[in-house]
Symmetry: C2
Subunit: 563 residues, 2 copies
């Protein structure tokens, strides 16, 4: 039996990701690569976060009476107005969030952080917040990279963050039907730890795996690194219990299939805390894979690699598709080859001799029953070869797998070294994939160049569907004087290019505050009205996560209509 990398990490430090002791520092080659690629003279660690003591934080707006009421519901030790908790809940983990908090600004921190122990306690907290006109932010792992857990007050007199960490149990497992019901505050590694002894896995491994919670997965329609095989969280979820200001709501059917009207589950999945607090969810689970087969193929271009993924999906024998399926563009592949040590350097030379001077590298992992994965890999290899792929062995896929959760640590070091790094993502049909890639990449580079420095973008596909694929962009540049403005400028340019390309504004990062201005382009004015109508039913006073998902006049975009 192969087990997943599911080490439980202490909750993230206030200024960045996870446990800094686990960060693997940039190699000398990596630093040199940064200097060369970004044309930076200085990549020393000259931009550390401020001292914790120096973080600016206002007083809590909550009076003694409200705090006593909250304590009456959850117990005094589960209601905090303490400085550390308020700072730790002052935002998510987007690059703008980190730039803000590293600069010492926690002025938008919530007025209190509540740690409820049951759906019943959540319900009573919501009732109280309606009565006292307090905004409510549901907080799982706090890993949002789109402003999803910003403690915005909206028009209310204060804001409380409901941290779900105490609600982390496996409630029920139906081994025969292969479903499991968990409390929403359970984190990825704890999910796997609960399922593994019973022979199951959820199969959901976003990069935020070690921090993010099940409630967060469901609230954001997240996709994981193996979702090409296991399916996105919105495909895995069967039922949700939601506590709303209008009362408890059970959506989703425990039946395997139903035609009993619209699928209300899908109004809650992806609702990002704007309708209520997800307190538990029932998920499809899978048997733990008995074996894994790894393989990497190189293609002469990103387009050739994308065409190979499409052929693999379309021409492959039913069920042969790998669980993990990633294709780097030539820029990302170049970094892999340059930073991977002597073996990958030799690989690059070999590919050059075979005529691939700027290769695009594709990594695959097949998971399944013993003996089965090797056969699936073998059959897939024929298609990949026929599509122009050169097999380069299993090592690149294994190397990726070892480092699969380390990206956010690297970002912390890069920020300290004065390098801006941010990611954004979309998805497009096969027909529009290449044009979307080119347009968004071009927009990012152009916006980066506006600051006068050198920018760098690397891109990959990580989720393959019958009708298309995701596209994930990582951009780097020297931090300008006003880092948040620099980041916003690039993000805006990329988002407008995505809308113009008729791709989706987000494939798996969700909407939060950052993408809300583009929602009307995504779903139309009447679609927004439908969302707002659902919110009106469940959260008539509007206290749930104000400013997220549904554009308000403040963050609405001037350009509305779909082309």
């Amino acid at each position: 039996m192969v087990t997943q990398n599911t080490v439980t990490i202490p909750r993230s430090v206030w200024y960045g990701w996870g446990d800094p002791a686990r960060a693997k520092p940039l190699s000398a080659a990596g630093l040199e690569y940064l200097r060369t690629t970004l044309g930076l003279q200085n990549v020393e660690a000259a931009h550390p976060p401020v001292d914790f003591e120096d973080i600016a934080l206002g007083p809590s707006a909550l009076g003694e009476a409200v705090l006593a009421e909250l304590s009456g519901i959850c117990g005094a030790r589960h209601v905090s107005t303490e400085r550390t908790e308020r700072i730790l809940h002052s935002g998510g983990k987007s690059t703008p969030d980190l730039l803000r908090i590293r600069g010492g600004d926690a002025l938008q921190a919530p007025d209190a952080v509540i740690f409820p122990g049951s759906a019943e306690e959540v319900r009573r907290v919501l009732e109280l917040c309606v009565a006292r006109r307090l905004a409510v932010v549901a907080f799982g792992g706090g890993t949002s990279v789109v402003g999803g857990v910003e403690p915005l007050r909206g028009p209310f007199s204060g804001v409380v963050t409901i941290d779900m960490r105490r609600m982390d149990r496996l409630l029920h497992l139906d081994a025969l039907s292969r479903t499991a019901t968990f409390e929403a505050g359970i984190r990825g590694p704890a999910i796997e730890a609960a399922l593994e002894p019973l022979g199951f896995t959820l199969g959901h491994f976003p990069q935020s795996h070690q921090e993010a919670t099940l409630g967060g997965y469901v609230a954001t329609r997240s996709a994981g690194q193996a979702s090409t095989g296991y399916g996105r969280s919105d495909n895995l979820v069967k039922a949700v219990h939601l506590e709303t200001p209008a009362g408890p709501l059970d959506v989703g059917s425990t039946a395997p299939g139903t035609a009993a009207g619209p699928k209300l589950l899908d109004t809650v999945v992806g609702s990002e805390g704007t309708l209520g607090v997800i307190t538990s969810a029932t998920m499809l689970i899978q048997p733990l894979p008995e074996s894994r087969s790894h393989g990497a193929w190189s293609f002469e271009s990103f387009a050739a690699g994308a065409a190979a993924l499409r052929r693999l999906r379309h021409e492959g024998v039913r069920g042969d598709m790998p669980h993990v399926c990633r294709l780097s563009d030539t820029d990302q592949s170049a970094a892999t080859f340059k930073l991977g040590g002597p073996k990958t350097a030799a690989m690059a030379r070999y590919l050059g001799l075979r005529g691939q001077r700027t290769p695009a590298l594709a990594l695959f992992v097949w998971e399944g029953a013993k003996g089965e994965t090797a056969a699936r890999k073998r059959r897939s290899a024929r298609i990949l070869r026929a599509a122009g792929g050169i097999y380069v062995g299993p090592l690149p896929a294994r190397a990726w797998e070892r480092g699969r959760f380390s990206g956010p640590y690297l970002r912390d070091e890069l920020l300290t070294r004065g390098v801006l790094v941010e990611t954004l993502e979309t998805a497009a049909t096969w027909t529009r994939l290449e044009a979307t890639y080119a347009a968004v990449r071009g927009a990012i580079l152009e916006a980066l160049a506006e600051g006068g420095g050198t920018g760098y973008v690397q891109t990959h596909i990580s989720h393959v569907y019958p009708d298309g694929a995701s596209i994930y962009f990582t951009f780097l540049a020297g931090l300008e004087q006003d880092g948040p403005a620099q980041n916003a400028r690039v993000k805006k340019a990329a988002s407008e290019a995505i809308v113009a390309a008729r791709a989706t504004i987000t494939h798996h990062h969700a909407v939060g505050t950052d993408h809300a201005p583009y929602m009307e382009a995504e779903i139309g004015a009447l679609g927004i009205a439908v969302l707002a109508g659902i919110k009106e039913t469940l959260d008539p006073s509007g206290i749930m996560n104000p400013g997220k998902l549904i554009p308000t006049p403040k963050n609405a975009s001037p350009t509305k209509e779909k082309p």
Copy 2:
């Protein structure tokens, strides 16, 4: 290349199904079986429908002015108040519908039937109906068996039925991304005829295939006979254009995956005409299968067969699952063996010698690339054998396939012979499957017996999911004096048993009027409020398909809460 049975049949006769010339009359053995099983002395054709001329129909409530306005929008020849059209649109094809119309009652016929030619025309018709306070029923193939197209007036001054038959084009096909956009009024065979020359299939084959339309599939979340392989219509649909009284609405993303908020597409899919009129939809399509492999296995009991289906789904090599997967209970199997001729009689004797005296027969069809289906069948055979299955060859599956669309014809003949026949369906998790089957079957038999006669139920599973399966019941009995009351009595008993078993009130027949009283048990009072809120946004005056889907005080059930 194997082509599907997709013969286009003239639209159904007013008193029943399809083209009666295509009906295959009951054999002498079939008649004898009916007499024996139901204990009926007389199964002669003594209950024909009334003469068409004798059907009762009221005058149209629409005045000249409104008719002139409708004609101004769609053209005079596409607006009908003619007797035949009104009768043909006076209901769907449920057994109660047929009993009513065969008895000569078309008093609830719509006041006019409109045949629009474009989304724009639909939009203008809706605007007019809002202004004139007319209820609107969207009508595709008119095959609803749950009252979904009943032309109910609700509180309005009249009701018009919008028949979508003129909107039947393939609008766009993206071969690379494997999606196709059709106008909603296209029927199953026309969908296949449009896709086949291009090498594709929709893979959606409900029993109503030859009559039902794409818009109906999407509006009801239908499942087809091959949906275990191809997926339900709600899995196949990517995007929908809906004309609503509040304006046009595009839902669904053309991106392959998205995290941009709740999936609004799923508020429209399954909305059964209560929010607006679906005028076009984009669907995933599949390559036409190059080959098919058939096989049938026999099990000692329904429970043993169900366990085998579950093991096939869970233990099978990824991708080996058959596209068609059906398991009959021992009663249905007995009928198959008794009525199948000498070959099946020999098969039954053989199974008896092998210890299966009351066998449960399972039929499978694997579809796919050449060479692939036989291998998948071979690997599946190992699991089915290990689960106690005895292989009985491909013939039963082939015989089923030949007759796969003939069930509704048989019903017409049975009604004429004074035999009540009706179907209902649910789905349950593997854990609850056996208990649900027993409870619902028992409730049907008990309710049938209340009338004093002998009833007969046969049951099958036709859709297999990771977490459970559908259960489909067909019941027969001699028609009592008040056939509709008899039918309603049985249906009510079955529905209450389904609710009590915590299964779904409908797996693929949808809600319509018949299941509306059970919707609150299915989705809760707050779920109903969410549905009503969505309707309020898109259809504020409530003209769209009144009385369907969302329970009104009139058809609301007294028992509300989920256990």
